[in-house]
Amino acid sequence: MADQEYKPSHSPDPTEPADPDAARPPATPGTGADRTSDAVETVYDASTGAAAEDRVAVASQFQLMWWRFRRHRLAMFGGIVILLFYSVVVFADFLAYASPQASEAERSLMPPQRVYLFDDGSFSPHVFGLDSRRNPQTFQREYFANPDDKIELSFFAEGFEYNLFGFIPTNRHLIGTKDREIGESVFLLGTDVQGRDMWSRLMYATRISLTIGLVAVIVSIALGVVMGGLSGFYGGWVDMVVQRMMELLYSIPTIPLWMGLAAAVPDHWSILRIYFAITVIIALIGWTELARVVRGRLLALREEDFVMAANLAGASQFRVIFVHLVPLVLSHIIAAVSLALPAMIVAETSLSFLGLGLRPPAVSWGVLLQGAQNIQAVALTPWLLLPAIPVIVVILAFSFLGDGLRDAADPYGM
């Protein structure tokens, strides 16, 4: 649960002008043709401050946000990590090298393979084949690397067929093997109980887990903006009712509620239907934070002079809300969304982990983590815990990004 205080960031020095090299002057109509970027930059160098103020004065809301955001290094870093993760969402089939459902009891619970990059000093990435044997005492299957069985890896190799972006049929994958079936010989992150390749499953799980967060956030934006908007704009009894609803949802433990709702999803539904049902369940309880932000901003803005001016000038309610108010609230919504997304991702992961969310054959981070639910699994097959790493990294990255965006969206933060 994110920090719910709305504090201006502690910027080092409030009087400091915008980062001089942060951005070029905007080419808004007001600046005219003579104020090319070079001209302004010389002016800027000569008389520090005046030009910077000019530039700030004509910058649009989003440019101001972007300038402030760029100064937040950690947030920039978080943003890049998020982009990388979403590229995994797009290229999951390309990055995976085996089908996520291909199971084989013969290779159950293999530990991750070590990848060797060099062979006799020359670059030749390879792994060693694994021989298995049953331990006569524990009856556990044990695996040994066979140094004579060298499996060379190649890049952009051919593998199973899939559709890139959903419509370009291809069979190229990031890695492959030169002379044998890759799905039966390479297990970069080991295998699960049913002998399915963890790396490939992790790629597909990333796709599901990250998109379910997005869809849930979209649903809760809709709910949050409508409820928060009504509440903040109309006030009075509407505000009362919405406020009480939000307090109600705040004051009860969410996980039992989620569990109750998720347990109601029938087993026989298709993966897609369960996916949407879970999304809606998560969003139904998760919209309060967004509504709170929207309401708070609208309540403050409603009293502003420009709203009264617009009203006096005869603008319709519709115009006041959508032309004057929404753009101002939008930046806050974006910041709130990036803070709400990780909560949604965790919600899905928790539910699936308990077996109440997505169910196999769907793969998500939570479904993968089900394999590591008890102490035996954690102690004997620690690699099944690996899907925890992307969960944590993504959530951290979103927190940094959201924090930076929130500071950037705060007009008093500079």
């Binding site: 649960m1 994110a2 920090d3 719910q4 205080e5 504090k7 502690h10 009480r244 307090e247 109600l248 705040y250 004051s251 009860i252 433990p253 969410t254 996980i255 039992p256 509620l257 569990m259 109750g260 709702l261 347990a263 109601a264 029938p266 990780p342 965790v346 992961t349 928790s350 982990f353 308990l354 077996g355 109440l356 983590l369 590591a372 639910q373 008890n374 102490i375 954690v378 102690a379 620690p382 815990l385 925890a388 969960v391 944590i392 959530i395 951290l396 927190s399 940094f400």
Partner: protein
């Protein structure tokens, strides 16, 4: 002040009423009812069930009545202190979850105590020494604490406990005390098992507490009265603890209300991972087998517990913040 207390109490009652409807509705949501899954279970084990038997079962539990009637029947019993019978365990719900509910409370309170014990000193320290190395470390740990979902944290703690210390960190009692009645030895045993779940559950709330306290205190530290006190020669420790910290604590006290549902919520899933004898694991199995009275009772009691806790934290805030007392 009395008016404020009455208003809060009334609001809590209304919330409890809504929670009871919500928890009953959740239990009603699954298609089919307990009798369906009970019959399926019996048939799977080879015992045929006749239609009349099924009808009898339904009549016995009032499953054929409309929602409002079923809710009314349920509430009337609950208000008399009878939570119904668990169909899955064939025992009164109270027996099934009595001890577990108490332990859920113990674990949640322990987590709350841990949260305060850690958040207070670290929050004060990192505000007073803003931008020091320790402040950065505290902020980073705070971020991590917020980011890691607590069931993952529980898994990691379990893994470290096992691989580094060779311990099984799950459970709340050692094996020899598990089935015994309450004794002083058992109590001590419980205390020795509490830190792990308390830390796992309290970390996220702690991280949030540190951030809130640090921000509040930073605002206070810049105010003129602090300068005045310092100019008058008050020792730094006394100065900070006596004035700005007291002011900065108020907003933190009000967040307990939000921390408690969060901690109770987390305890459900963490208990499943750490196999704690709280209501969490029972809730999961009861939902899976559609044991509606049991699941309903758990969701209801968890909700009521949190609402009462929130009410108490509001009263605490009333005690320490004179501004609220003056309001009426």
């Amino acid at each position: 002040m009395l008016g404020y207390i009455i208003r809060r109490a009334l609001f809590s009652l209304v919330t409890i009423f809504l929670v009871s409807i919500l928890s009953f509705a959740i239990i009603q949501l699954p298609p089919g009812d307990y009798v369906d899954s009970y019959i399926a279970q019996l048939q799977a084990s080879g015992t045929p069930v006749s239609t009349s038997e099924a009808e009898n079962l339904r009549a016995r539990y009032g499953l054929d009545e409309p929602f409002a009637v079923q809710y009314g029947l349920w509430m009337r019993q609950v208000l008399r202190g009878n939570l119904g019978t668990s169909m899955q365990w064939q025992r009164p719900v109270r027996e099934v979850i009595g001890d577990r509910l108490a332990l859920t409370m113990v674990v949640s309170v322990a987590a709350l105590v841990f949260t305060w014990m850690i958040a207070l000193p670290i929050g004060i320290f990192s505000a007073v020494r803003q931008y020091s190395v320790a402040d950065y470390i505290a902020t980073t740990i705070g971020f991590m604490g917020l980011a890691v979902p607590n069931f993952l944290f529980a898994l990691v703690v379990m893994y470290i406990g096992w691989s580094v210390f060779g311990l099984n960190v799950g459970g709340l009692f050692s094996a020899e005390y598990e089935l015994q009645g309450w004794s002083f030895g058992k109590f001590l045993n419980l205390l020795s098992h509490l830190p792990v779940p308390a830390i796992v559950l309290g970390t996220a709330a702690t991280a949030q507490g540190i951030r809130v306290l640090r921000n509040n205190l930073l605002d206070e530290l810049r105010k003129p009265y602090v300068v005045t006190a310092r100019a008058k020669g008050l020792s730094e420790t006394r100065l900070i603890l006596k004035y700005p910290v007291r002011v900065a604590l108020n907003p933190l006290a009000s967040t307990i209300g939000y921390m408690l549902p969060f901690i109770v919520s987390g305890s459900v899933i963490v208990s499943i991972v750490l196999s704690l004898p709280t209501v969490g694991p029972v809730l999961l199995t009861s939902l899976q087998s559609q044991d509606m009275f049991l699941a309903g009772a758990i969701v209801l009691l968890l909700g009521v517990m949190t609402i009462i806790g929130t009410f108490l934290s509001d009263m605490l805030l009333l005690l320490i913040d004179p501004r609220i007392r003056m309001e009426d």
